[in-house]
């Protein structure tokens, strides 16, 4: 793989890296396909209904990973994503309990704005305080989780019927879950315009080399705040997806912060920033969920499956590290 990179014209030095990056993502989708095939093999009755429940269960972690990915690409990290999702989830559930079916449209818009604002608060605190991202967002994870408990002291609230239908059932054919369609549409609507915009380029620039970005006239502070705001928007959508799949609000953060980090790392987003996209993390989220599912089908108890998942994660990042090392030496 290093040979074509060397042979590439000098005018496009990034092409070797692009190939390698896409190789990783292509490899992930092949792995996902293999896992799906394996699932059908070990559970012959695996059908549309199972695919549907898989898609619904993966929805929150996909959005958590997408939120984390945008922030990590810009050189940050947000350890408050899980808390943000809990907060937006309870706000949505508490408001929908009173809004009625039509008013729920307003609630959704409100929660999206709220998520964006809360994410922007994280970003502003990071930029203004000059405290490392990981510390700021760690502290804010307590704040958002506390706020979630203030909104709803115990699990409760509700969700509008049309809203839950967005993730329930299938679309056109029985093999295509609506939750999957919702996911793809939402991510495409946010990510594709972003990736092609000036801001999208700035995110990668700031994440890969701050100094170079600054010297090229990229406003570092504003770009970082924007990354956190978009991350907050996606975390808000993640919170809404929790409402969609459960119908209630849960004021306790789920395992989405670290789960999201695991998915993006497996998905080829470098924690050092500036590299990766959304295609990889989405596949990674499905892969991690499928591994858990297959272990259940194989009769492995959930404790062992935790061990195996951890081992898979370690092996994958170690292989990734080796690939990286060899490429640097080549």
């Amino acid at each position: 793989m290093s040979a074509p990179a060397v042979a590439a014209p000098a005018a496009r030095p990034g092409i070797g890296r692009t190939i390698a990056r896409n190789q990783w993502v292509v490899g992930l989708y092949l792995l996902l396909a293999a896992l799906l095939a394996f699932t059908f093999l070990i559970k012959p009755g695996y059908g549309p209904a199972d695919i549907e429940s898989l898609a619904i269960s993966v929805l929150p972690i996909v959005f958590a990973a997408a939120a984390q990915a945008v922030i990590v690409i810009a050189g940050g990290i947000d350890l408050s994503i899980g808390s943000l999702m809990a907060l937006t989830n309870v706000v949505a559930a508490a408001l929908m309990a009173q809004s009625g079916e039509v008013g729920a449209v307003g609630v959704v818009l409100l929660v999206l704005i709220l998520g964006t604002l809360l994410g922007a608060v994280n970003g502003i605190l990071v930029v203004v305080s000059r405290v490392p991202d990981i510390v700021v967002t760690l502290a804010m994870s307590f704040v958002w989780a506390g706020a979630a408990l203030l909104v709803l002291g115990s699990p409760g609230g509700s969700a509008a019927a049309w809203f839950m239908a967005l993730a329930d059932g299938t679309f056109l054919i029985e093999w295509l879950p609506r939750a999957f369609v919702t996911m793809v549409v939402v991510l495409a609507v946010i990510w594709i315009p972003l990736r092609r915009s000036r801001l999208g380029l700035s995110l990668y620039a700031v994440g890969s080399d701050r100094v170079a970005a600054l010297r090229s006239g990229v406003p570092i502070g504003r770009t970082k705040i924007a990354a956190y705001a978009i991350g907050g928007l996606l975390a808000g959508i993640g919170g809404l997806s929790l409402s969609m799949s459960t119908g209630i609000g849960l004021p306790v953060p789920g395992p989405y912060t670290l789960g999201g980090v695991a998915a993006i790392v497996l998905g080829g987003v470098s924690l050092a920033g500036g590299r990766g996209g959304l295609m990889g993390p989405v596949a990674a989220a499905f892969i991690l969920a499928l591994i858990r599912l297959d272990l259940v089908f194989l009769g492995v108890t959930s404790d062992y499956s935790q061990v195996i998942q951890g081992v898979v994660l370690v092996l994958v990042v170690m292989i990734g590290g080796l690939v990286e090392l060899r490429r640097r030496r080549a």
Binding site: I134, F142, A148, L149, A262, Y304, V317, G321, E324
Partner: protein
């Protein structure tokens, strides 16, 4: 601190000298903050003055495990790393000790448990030192593996029964002469050893060097993989010791006993002035940071704050101290 340039102090204006003091001796302002928190606590709950020792011991019993776990974060953060597996290692160590004690005897149970803790640390070290995996993700994953393994183990030994060895309970929650918490007899030598390791030994200097500039450290002949492997083994061992002390304080060992200590352990190191980017910090500040967090929790408890507000204030104070610290020590 050991790398601080000397000899330019006299030309600096007063404000810069204050900054330099704060940067090099973060313990001083932190002790001030601790004193303020204690003063507030005393005004809110004057009853403490009737039994000051009992109150202080209560703080110490749970501040010591936190400070030991925060030592793991301090050491790893000096090299630009972090250890998110400490809580799992701590709980696992305590649990293995408590379940092995009835059949193996106390000393053997403690050794088996600590060997396991060091083993998880070794895996961390190999992944981070040799395979160059991000410490955040490596320790996160090994934490998952260890937790799953411990759960499997729990099912296997369910019938064997468990007990916290008597010496551990005495160490964790007893007092000598009715006034001195026994944990201090373990913690003070341990803390001194860590500080001497960091300030007076070649290995300590290597940790700062690796965190400050890994390339320069490598060119200067530091064998980074070996340094990191030893570091994470040490961190695993310390986490195990912290878990045992915690089990002694709580007089019971469960598989999620130390979960609540993970984020505070990072926070204690950060509040104590250790940079998460590596190369700057020390253990003295971390100890004060751990004390501040415990007193803060006590204060919020004494004020009967509802849990949500407690979390919000807790987070806001961590952020506030870290931000104030960044402001004061910033050269720009």
């Amino acid at each position: 601190m050991s790398a601080a340039p000397a000899g330019t102090t006299e030309q600096l204006p007063a404000s810069a000298r204050v900054r330099r003091l704060f940067r090099e001796q973060p313990v001083v302002p932190l002790l001030g903050l601790l004193a303020i928190l204690v003063a507030i606590l005393l005004t809110v709950q004057p009853g403490i003055l009737n039994r000051p020792l009992g109150w202080a011991n209560g703080i110490v019993y749970f501040a010591v495990p936190l400070a030991i776990l925060a030592a793991c974060q301090t050491l790893t953060m000096l090299t630009g790393g972090i250890d998110l597996s400490v809580a799992t290692i701590a709980s696992m160590t305590a649990y293995v000790m408590a379940t092995q004690a009835p059949s193996q005897g106390d000393p053997a149970a403690i050794l088996i448990a600590l060997a396991l803790a060091a083993g998880v640390g070794l895996i961390n070290g190999i992944g981070i030192g040799i395979f160059r995996v991000q410490p955040l993700i490596m320790t996160l994953a090994t934490g998952l593996v260890a937790l799953g393994g411990a759960n499997v183990y729990q099912k296997l030994v369910l019938t064997a029964g468990s007990r916290v060895p008597e010496p551990v309970a005495v160490l964790g929650s007893g007092t000598t002469f009715g006034v001195i918490p026994n944990t201090l007899f373990l913690f003070i030598p341990l803390a001194l050893a860590i500080m001497i390791l960091l300030k007076r030994t070649g290995y300590g200097r290597m940790l700062y060097a690796v965190g400050d500039n890994p390339v320069a450290a490598r060119l200067a002949g530091v064998r980074i993989p070996q340094v990191l492997i030893l570091l994470y083994v040490l961190s695993g061992l310390l986490a195990g010791i912290g878990g045992i002390v915690l089990a002694g304080a709580a007089k019971t060992a469960t598989l999620n006993a130390a979960d609540a200590y993970l984020l505070p352990s990072v926070a204690a190191a950060v509040i104590g002035g250790t940079s998460i980017f590596g190369g700057r910090g020390g253990y003295a500040g971390t100890i004060v940071g751990a004390l501040i967090l415990r007193v803060l929790l006590g204060l919020l408890g004494a004020m009967n704050t509802p849990e949500p507000i407690r979390q919000i204030v807790y987070g806001a104070i961590i952020l506030g101290v870290a931000a104030a610290y960044a402001r004061v020590t910033d050269d720009g």
